[in-house]
Each structure stands twice: as structure tokens, then as C-alpha cells.
């Protein structure tokens, strides 16, 4: 086994570590703690956070890439180890090879037969045209009629193991957090549901395709799960690119005023006057042309897809900083009029120190709100961009690519609805959780709304 570190993997782990450190430092600040306590004292906040955490966990597991060592054939008299060309992730291992069970083409959820007729041989060896049986579904069944009973039995078994896993995961949390004032029970129930569902999916997928297969015969459920990494990474990395630009320019414009302010205002007005989708599309196309003309930059296809992906995050970040910049500029303008900043000036404190100690900490709430809000918007945008053809590489699993590939299939008879359902469902849950969470974060951190609550 040989670990493979893609650029996006490195970035996402870096991001998670720095976020963890950031929150660890914030812990000491009593005001911030109180606000987070606000967010987590509602059951909805707990549930939404747990769902987001589960998605992030899947994305992280799916970012631990490696290439399997191949068994050398006996005849090859060498000690050298060869590696599989396919890059797998820890998540692939955990799902028990769900992605390795390919069919020939479409098949419906839990189907035993393929969706399209083919020339096959019947029991007596004659050529007939009929639906061929699937390769990886219901092989163990003696008769097709046993399917329903078999699914129930397998589900019960999976549920048993799922509940056992839940008990193992939740019991230690319960022991530690029993006396906590926060509604942890809501989180535990969510964890229980997610874990049981996960165990059920992995267990059943050995015998059936839960969400059927797509045109290429790939398992739709597996693809939807693979889309999680793309969605989560895009949502976080693009914001990560945007933050430093927006914060630096916004704070500088609001603090130094004068010509700095003029330049920054000019920059963001110009940028925001260009229709966003055109700017993104043009940039992505240009990068595409560049890659096409320099094909020897990347060794493996996955690296090329990864480079395109990072470029997309970069482009989304660079084209979307104007809103946050405007907000931060306005807030900094307000803050730099306040007494304590004036006092710091009078004492001869340097600009960089004032910015670092007095201004920046007071715009953190805006950054935080934007981060959470933008996350869901970016996940949704990915699907649209992939539809337009300027999204992530088709070889990289994403919800946008799934939707794009399946949208014309609704007009078939009978309808092929499962690919769209899978992609939309997993996307909806993530975006809903992020939106609900961002509402709570905004309520807790936005001084305007917290004032209004104090009035009421």
C-alpha cells in the first residue's frame, strides 16, 4: 500500500487542523463561548451540527488516498512491488467495495434484472432477448420471489449491528456528557440514525444495489456518497481562498480610508459588476485550454482532475470576495471611529497592532457568518456549474455531474429516477443542515439580532 497525497487532500486536512486550533483558542474568550452555547443549546443546532460533522467526516475519510499493492505473479522473479493504477480511499475500504460492483448498464433500486433487454441464452441454451440478471444483486437467492423477505431479514441483521455500533459510539459520550446542560440527546439520536443507516447501506449493498445503477453500471448510492467529498471540499476551500483577500482588503479600506479605500471600492465594484457566472465560466474555460495545451503537467488522470478542482475552488474564491469585503469595510469604518481605537492611536500604538488586536477580533463574527452561509451556496453552485460544463472534472464524482448525466433520462419510459434522487437527496440534506446551522450562528453572533432578542 502506498499513500497518495493529492493537493486537495493536503488542503482540507490543513483547513480542518487550523479550524480546530482557531476554535481551541476562541474557547478562552467568554463572550464567544456564550454565543456558541446559544447555538448549541437548541436541539435543531445540535442536529444540524451532527449532520454537518458526519458529512465532513465522510469527506475526510474519502480524502485519505492510497494505491493498493498488487500481488506479483509467481512467475515474476522480482522483489519489486507494483501498485494499482486506481487510487482508493479509506472510505472505499469502509464501504466494503461498494464502488467495485459494476453492472452492464442501468438497473432499478433493489432490482435483480438489468433495465435493458439483451441477447442472452435461456436455460435450454437458446438465444432469446430478455432482461439479463445482474452480476452483483441477489446472487444468493434461490428464487426471485424471496427478495422481499430476504431484504427484510438482511435489514434486521444490519439494524442489529448498527445499533450495536451506536451503543459503542454513544455510550462513552453519554458517560462524559451526562450532566451537560446542552441537548446532547438530540445529537445522539442523529448519530444513531446516521450510523444505523450507514451500517445498513454497507450491509445491504453486498447483495443489492440500493439506489440502482447508472448508465455505466456504477452503483448510484456509492456515487452519491463520493459526491460528499467534492461538495464539502468545494464549499470550504473556495471560502478559504476568498477569506484572506476579502478580509485584508476590507479591513485596509475601512481603516486607512483615503486612496486605499477608493482603490478597494473600485476593485470590488468592477468585479461585482461582471455577471458572476460568466466570469467563472470564462476563467474555468481558460484554465481548461491551458491544461489541454500542456498535457504533460500531470502524471495520473486523478491529479489532473484534482488540479482542475483546485483551480475551480480558486476561481470561485477570487471571483466572490466582493460581498464579504464590502461588509468588512463597513464594519471596520464603524469600529475605527470607536473610543478604544482612538485611544490606541493616542497612545501611539502601531497600525498593525491596532488592526490585529482591536479591529480584526471585532469582525470575526462577520467572517464566521459568511463562511457558514457561503458553504451551502457553493454546494448548490457546484451542481449548476457542472451542468453548464465548467464544474469539476467528469472523472471526479460529484452531484452536479450525476445530475448532468441523468437529466435526460427522466423522459424515458419507465422513468429512470434513481440517479437524480440520490444526488438531490444527499445534496439537500447537507445544504439544509448548513442553512439551518448558519441561521442559528447568525442569530447568535449578529449583534443586531441579539439586541433585538434582548428587547423582546
Amino acid at each position: 500500500m502506498k499513500p497518495v497525497l493529492l493537493w486537495s487532500d493536503a488542503l482540507i486536512f490543513l483547513l480542518v487542523i487550523s479550524l480546530a486550533l482557531f476554535f481551541w483558542r476562541l474557547r478562552r474568550d467568554p463572550q464567544t463561548r456564550e454565543r456558541w452555547a446559544d447555538v448549541f443549546s437548541s436541539r435543531l443546532g445540535m442536529v444540524a451540527f451532527t449532520v454537518i460533522a458526519a458529512y465532513i467526516l465522510v469527506a475526510l475519510l474519502d480524502s485519505l488516498h492510497f494505491r493498493r499493492a498488487l500481488e506479483n505473479p509467481e512467475s515474476l522473479a522480482t522483489q519489486e512491488v507494483f501498485y494499482d493504477n486506481k487510487v482508493s480511499s479509506v472510505f472505499d475500504v469502509l464501504t466494503g467495495g461498494m464502488g467495485d460492483r459494476f453492472e452492464r448498464t442501468y438497473s432499478a433500486p433493489f432490482a435483480l434484472l438489468s433495465f435493458e433487454k439483451e441477447n442472452i441464452k435461456d436455460a435450454s441454451g437458446r438465444d432469446i432477448r430478455d432482461f439479463p440478471p445482474l452480476r452483483h444483486a441477489g446472487q444468493h437467492l434461490a428464487h426471485p420471489d424471496e427478495r422481499a423477505a430476504d431484504i427484510l431479514a438482511k435489514s434486521a441483521k444490519a439494524l442489529f449491528w448498527g445499533l450495536l455500533l451506536c451503543a459503542l459510539v454513544i455510550a462513552p459520550q453519554w458517560l462524559v456528557l451526562r450532566g451537560s446542560p446542552f441537548p446532547w440527546a438530540a445529537s445522539w439520536i442523529t448519530q444513531g440514525v446516521i450510523l444505523s443507516a450507514g451500517v445498513w447501506m454497507v450491509g445491504i449493498s453486498h447483495h443489492y444495489h440500493i439506489l440502482g445503477t447508472d448508465q455505466g453500471g456504477a452503483d448510484v448510492l456509492y456515487q452519491s456518497l463520493k459526491g460528499i467529498r467534492t461538495g464539502v471540499l468545494l464549499g470550504t476551500l473556495a471560502t478559504l481562498v476568498m477569506l484572506p483577500i476579502a478580509v485584508t482588503l476590507g479591513v485596509m479600506a475601512g481603516y486607512f480610508k483615503g486612496w486605499v479605500d477608493d482603490v478597494v471600492q473600485y476593485l470590488y465594484t468592477t468585479l461585482s459588476s461582471i455577471p458572476g457566472i460568466l466570469l467563472i465560466a470564462a476563467s474555468v474555460l481558460l484554465f481548461q485550454v491551458y491544461i489541454d495545451l500542456n498535457p504533460d503537467f500531470f502524471a495520473v488522470g486523478m491529479e489532473k482532475a484534482d488540479a482542475k478542482f483546485i483551480a475551480l475552488c480558486f476561481i470561485l474564491g477570487v471571483t466572490s470576495w466582493s460581498t464579504l469585503c464590502r461588509l468588512i469595510r463597513a464594519e471596520t469604518l464603524k469600529i475605527s471611529q470607536l473610543g478604544y481605537v482612538q485611544a490606541a492611536h493616542a497612545f501611539g500604538v502601531s497600525h498593525s497592532r491596532i488592526l490585529g488586536r482591536h479591529v480584526l477580533p471585532n469582525v470575526v463574527h462577520i467572517i464566521l457568518i459568511t463562511f457558514v452561509l457561503d458553504f451551502s451556496a457553493l454546494v448548490l453552485a457546484e451542481a449548476v456549474l457542472s451542468y453548464i460544463g465548467v464544474g469539476v472534472d467528469p472523472s471526479m464524482g460529484s452531484w452536479g455531474n450525476m445530475i448532468n448525466g441523468a437529466r435526460s433520462e427522466l423522459s424515458r419510459e419507465p422513468t429512470i429516477w434513481w440517479t437524480l434522487t440520490g444526488a438531490f437527496f444527499f445534496m439537500f440534506i447537507l445544504v439544509l443542515a448548513a442553512n439551518l446551522f448558519s441561521d442559528l450562528v447568525r442569530d447568535a453572533f449578529d449583534p443586531r439580532t441579539s439586541l433585538r432578542r434582548a428587547d423582546a
Binding site: T270, P275, L278, L286, R407, L410, T415
Partner: protein, 325 residues
Amino acid sequence: MFAYIVRRLIYAIPILVGVNLLTFTLFFVVNSPDDMAASQLGDKYVTPEAIENWKQKNGYDKPLFLNPQAAGVGQVTDTIFFDKSVRLFAFDFGRSESGRDITTDVATRMWPSLAVALPTFLVGIGVNICVALMVVMFRGTRLDRGAVFVFVALMSISYLFYIIGGQFLVAKTWRLVPISGFHTEGQVWKFLILPVLVGVVAGIGAGARWYRTLFLEEANQDYVRTARAKGCSELSILFRHILPNALIPILTGVVVLIPSLFMGSLLIESFFGIPGLGSYMLDAINSQDFAIVRSMVFIGSILYIVGLLLTDISYTWADPRVRLS
């Protein structure tokens, strides 16, 4: 007022120059004419002569910014930047890579875009305000909280889902209207009704939620308390006091969007086969026709700037306390 508008229009020039420089840098410096020629010709036919030919045919065989060989003004005007970018200011968009006149294309394709976008915009605002008003009537109750949750859920659904779902349900299952297409004569409404419906429904979540916050902000004002104290009924407070006052931020918030309606919607138009500017852009992106993309970027920026100007003017119109100077 007139002086203000003129000044704002003059301020718009540096912004448009900036937009132009930015797109020019993107299209000609990052991606040089040689690269463009190579990708347009296709890998097989790339020879130095072919590239030169292509560049000459499409007018890319000049220097980028400054032409030292030309005389006088020609030093500046006989360049790619002048040819391709400065001419946009005179609304001379030139020809697309496939040889069609972009100005005529834009002028004809603008109307189908508008035919979809304008009803969507107006009906959308009406529906959102009604929904938000109904929710505000029950403010502070379980119904209100439930409605906010529904709004957030509606917002979380991908736009693509609304389109695909709408086509599947209304056009395919119920067979009420054609799935897609467009006609200029006869029953145009048949083709418009579904795109408009989808656009309105997709906007309810975000729109109604925003209007609800605006209404609630007004509902906490002192004049509402006064009205209640003097014995107004809740209904008359809502319609006679809160609604007119909340219309000001609503108006100023949506005015900026009006000019952009001309641009149409990329997704709606491509799914419903409406020959507007949205699908024009999408086709240009797919066929990598940078001449069209460049022109559309320019038009889009102009419309945005006009929108900002209209917003400022609408402030004075809606709120007599605001004066432009």
C-alpha cells in the same frame, strides 16, 4: 438630480474600463491568440502557418496594446486591445467566432429572455410578499417557526431540482404544457407558463424569508406600537402601517435587478429551450466563443451599473427624506 445622474454615469466609465481590462487580460494575455488559434483549429492542424492564417483571418495578428509600426494615432488604435475591447464602448460588438453579427443576435434574443424574466420577476415579488404577509400575521407562533423552517428547506433545494421536477410533473406526467420550446406567434403563453412557474416557486424560499425579516423589522418600530395603542386592529396595522413602510426596502432591494432581467436566466432558458440571451451565453460558453462571452460580460456590467443608479434614484422616490447631491 440631473447633475447627479450625469456624474454617476461619468463614474461608471472607469468601472467599465476596468471590466474591459480584466476581460482583455483574461482572454488575450493569460490565453494568448496563439493558444486560441491552436484550440480552435484542433490538434491535428496546428502548424505555424495555420496559426498565422487563423490570426490574420480573425484579426488577432496585431500587437496587444501598442503598435510601434503604425503612425500617429494608429499606434494605439491598430492593436488588438482597441479592436476587440474599446469598440465595445460604442456598442460595436463585432462578429462571433462563427461569423454572426453579435449586435443583431443580442437585439433579437433579448425579447424572449425578457418574456420569461419579467413575468417571473413580477409574479415572484407578488407571491413572496403575500406569503411573507401571511406568515407575519402569525408571528411568534408555532406556525411562524414552522414556516421559516419550510422556507429554509425550500432554499436548500437545488434550482436544477425545481426545473427538472417541474418539467417532469407538469409537462410529462400531467401533460398540461409542452416540455420546452418557444414560438413567437400564436400561443406564446403556453411555452412561458412553466418556466415562469418554476422560476417563481424556486424563489419563494429565499424571497419570502427575506421579506418576512423586513416586515418583522418594521413590526418592531414605535409607530406600530402607537397604532396598536390607539386601537387599530392587527389587520389594519399590517396592511396600512407595516406593508407600505416595508415596501421601501423591498423596492430599493429589487430595483437593482430590473436591468439584469434582459440577460435572462442561463438555466431556465437552456432547460426550456428558450432562444434568449441566457441560452446564448450558455452556447457561447460551450463552444468557447470568447467574442460573445466578452460582449455579454460588457453588457452585463452596464446593466448592473444602470441597476445601481436606478436604486439610488428609487431611494429618493420612495423616501422623501433622501436627497441626492
